[in-house]
Amino acid sequence: MASTIRVRATSSGDTTEVQALIQHPMDSGFVKNAAGALIPPHFIQQVTFEHGGKPVFVADWGPAVSKDPYVKFSFKGGKKGDELKISWVDNKGVSDSSTAKIQ
């Protein structure tokens, strides 16, 4: 299975900018399907970005985050070639993780 996580991490000397796109339905639990039944909530709750074994960014998400969520942040201390670990877990306990090299 292909990874659900797409990450681009670019270093500009001092800081590293990270952009992540995750494939996930992010169902809020308020939307009805064609038959009129509520689609149960299914959304990512926590995304963790780690560099050098330490978290550099933690996202706690509710169902109001858009489908196929996107997030951007930057941190200090990353170098080109370093690995960035990204992992997420949703409200059903499903999870995925991936690593990206800082460019």
Binding site: Q45, V58, A64, S66, G93
Partner: protein, 165 residues
């Protein structure tokens, strides 16, 4: 889910992560075996209750246990009019020092709290994401800096709601 692991948590976690990376590289199916609890152990617990509160004030209290004061040092970049409420790009940045977290709330959504980000030392106090909005509403950005809360808000008009119906 368990959030505690006996023994040397760090070691265990590193090993699990290493294993996970190898599996992912080898392309052997999804990783769905207990990785999440191991990871969560290293971080703050997911603030489940705060995401289920209705109004903004109550959500801020549930999340931080205090109230926020308005600050012009909190800058929010959000559209005046969002054509599609399902995808509203919102960015928050601040010039405040010692920022530990940034949260974004949508007042008129069924549950106000949309996203909350932990900013460890060394990470820039700036975040961009995309949120769903049920209808035209105030969007509130909360920045926690030096143990205090600062906020900024902006009304975003929504022409097509993003929460179905």
């Amino acid at each position: 889910m368990t959030y505690s692991i006996p023994g040397s948590v760090d070691e265990t976690r590193r090993l699990i992560l290493k294993g996970a990376a190898v599996v992912a590289l080898a392309g052997l199916g999804g990783i769905r075996f207990g990785l999440a609890p191991a990871l969560a152990a290293a971080n703050d617990k997911y603030p489940e209750a705060a995401f289920k509160v209705k109004g903004t004030d109550d959500a801020i209290k549930a999340l931080y246990g205090k109230t926020a004061e308005k600050s012009d040092k909190v800058k929010m970049d959000a559209p005046e009019i969002a054509e599609n409420g399902a995808v509203v790009p919102i960015a928050v940045t601040t010039t405040l020092a010692d920022v530990t977290s940034i949260s974004i709330l949508v007042a008129e959504n069924p549950n106000a709290l949309a996203a909350s980000y932990t900013i460890p030392a060394g990470t820039m106090p700036s975040v961009a994401n995309r949120l769903k909005m049920a209808k035209t509403s105030n969007v509130i950005a909360i920045v926690e800096a030096g143990g205090k809360l600062y906020s900024a808000s902006k009304e975003v008009k929504v022409t097509v709601g993003g929460c179905g119906g």
